[in-house]
Symmetry: C2
Subunit: 421 residues, 2 copies
Amino acid sequence: MQFSEMSREELLAMYSELKTEYEQIKAENLKLDMSRGKPAADQLDISMDMLKEVVGVYDCKAESGLDCRNYGVLDGIPECKRLFAEMLEVKPENIILGGTSSLALMFDFITQCMLKGAGGKPWSEQGEIKFICPVPGYDRHFGICEFYGIKMINVPLGADGPDMEAVNELIKDPSVKGMFCVPKYSNPTGITYSDEKVRALAAMKPAAKDFRVIWDNAYAVHDLNATPDRLLNIFDACSEFGTEDYFVEFTSTAKISFPGGGVSCIAASDNNIKMIIDRLKYQTICYDKLNQLRHAKYFRDLQGIKLHMKKHAMLIAPKFEIVLEAFRNELGEYGLAEWTEPNGGYFISLNTTTCSAKRVGDLCRSLGVVLTKVGATYPYGIDPEDSNIRIAPTFPTVPELKKAAEVLCLCIKLASIENLV
Amino acid sequence: MQFSEMSREELLAMYSELKTEYEQIKAENLKLDMSRGKPAADQLDISMDMLKEVVGVYDCKAESGLDCRNYGVLDGIPECKRLFAEMLEVKPENIILGGTSSLALMFDFITQCMLKGAGGKPWSEQGEIKFICPVPGYDRHFGICEFYGIKMINVPLGADGPDMEAVNELIKDPSVKGMFCVPKYSNPTGITYSDEKVRALAAMKPAAKDFRVIWDNAYAVHDLNATPDRLLNIFDACSEFGTEDYFVEFTSTAKISFPGGGVSCIAASDNNIKMIIDRLKYQTICYDKLNQLRHAKYFRDLQGIKLHMKKHAMLIAPKFEIVLEAFRNELGEYGLAEWTEPNGGYFISLNTTTCSAKRVGDLCRSLGVVLTKVGATYPYGIDPEDSNIRIAPTFPTVPELKKAAEVLCLCIKLASIENLV
């Protein structure tokens, strides 16, 4: 029976029971964290041999003969560029490799647009500029805009991508300079943009000729099951419209090898690659080529990465299932929330329907369960509906996760009754 | 006998002999490179065990128990911060660790000053701004200024540091926002700032309150012999004047472990650390902690680094000596050049006294010997005297270096006679 159909007395009786449960759990002094999309230790164990690979052969030479220990090669060693090129279905010459963090590559790119422009005047000299943010989205994207005072405009993210009617209306404004997209297994909803949406994005005619989409393909190969999503290659889509320069793609091996020691990557049009290299040659001499070599030798090719990702999926798919199972049993039948069941990525996105998400976050915290800060999935930390909760199920162990899911469901029930009575 | 004292006939006779030598060398089709301060392969071999260290113990945990493979720890793991803190004689809390490149840390810092300011208005909103550049200096420093259109002003670098009279005059101008210093084993002259100069710098009273010195201590532990230079700790010197915020120090292990896989570092005042972290938390999640762990485990402490640097010195001190010996024998007695004999660092700086350095560079290139682009040691690539040549003796092998030094001396003689007759 749905909570909304229960009488006040029924709800209060249930509240009393739930409160007892709450007190019992409180006494357990839990300390559980479902806040960030971090791999668990057993996932990281999968890649340990990579740390031996370069050393094992006692050979730090790239296939070109280049000594990876020394200076040089601004854009990355060829075999590692090839690996990413295969993964992102682009040519190796349209790839630049970075350090551990693709976020840093995005930040640096937007910084460059701010100070030097993207073909036009520096963004920082164009008065107030704006970015389109499909919501819910990734808080660290929003953080970059906040840091630079770029005004963020929410656009609803549906089950197959952003609301293109809204997007096409917004880009008539020349002060709208860009957009954030996580096109595959979107953070946090886990949806993948449909071919139609990708084509519609590629067909955009922004008033700003220095418009740039941060195409954050963080979960390009992060499938969870036998029915993975398929993302249309953005650059293929663009070729029809000649809009390649509007899109800059980013990814990394953070959640393939090691978040604290992976390799990041940019894929972009010839023009954008040139623009980025023209800055990079002043910014650095090279990124870590030994780490690039480790990755290239360990994975060899896309096939190697895919096999590797199956091992990740074996560890994390059951964790997703634990959370989803709890939601179905504890929330679904009471009509307390809606959620996504993604085929990949790192998150489950839940929307409360009968209570404040903030209140749920507070209750969970009081029981020692940390969720992603409620509101963080929206620009400026403001969820207008106060309903979205991002669940990151990978980091806790299975028993921890069961407990955390139980606590979350309990807290949603408590908050819902508080709200309804 | 000095060339300047020889008769025209004597010079022409000598020219003819040298020209024969030139043609013989040309026939050898040399391909030698003394252009960049790159370690040679045998130097990199010294550090190979580092690549085994983390893996060897199959343990990627920092001493705090933190799993270095995963996300987190923006400023670097404690044991690696401690290592750099000991090296730079500052507190660990005044250290931030970066990726492989200290140049990137400098670039990012200046970028931040441009867009967000250093306590005042963004530098980019203050009209034309200027940087003081002691010359000769490091081309990649100058490159950052050129990229951002920061006007560079030359100040002579003497045997014990910059001309402070000139510096103190320049900083009366509030548009002078900063200065580049390589205070120890300066690139390229190899000199170390005297205590007096360091104190005079610390005592500066710039009109610009958002003035920042890029204190690039790249060669902090890069001694070549038993009489190393000693650099006064800039932050100790500043404490007397309360000027800590004017200085941001940078270093890296590029020339300690691996240029293509080292760890870089910032040391700065509490205020500057806060300012940098306030940006970094938007820019990245973490730098490569596995590499930080490798370095911390391998070197352990400053003593470990010092022992390690002695091995480098054993390999490269003889190379410096080869070049200096050639200069003494082939140039000194003829009065054709002046040069430095540094106690550390990566360069020998030579000034021609009787010919154009550009002409020497061209002649060397025609014989297959690549020098650092003549002029590169000055802002905008313009050496007003056309006399400075930066010699990087570390990368070639000993036989290559002997040949390259021979070629260089020959070309200086040829160019000098061309100039004198």
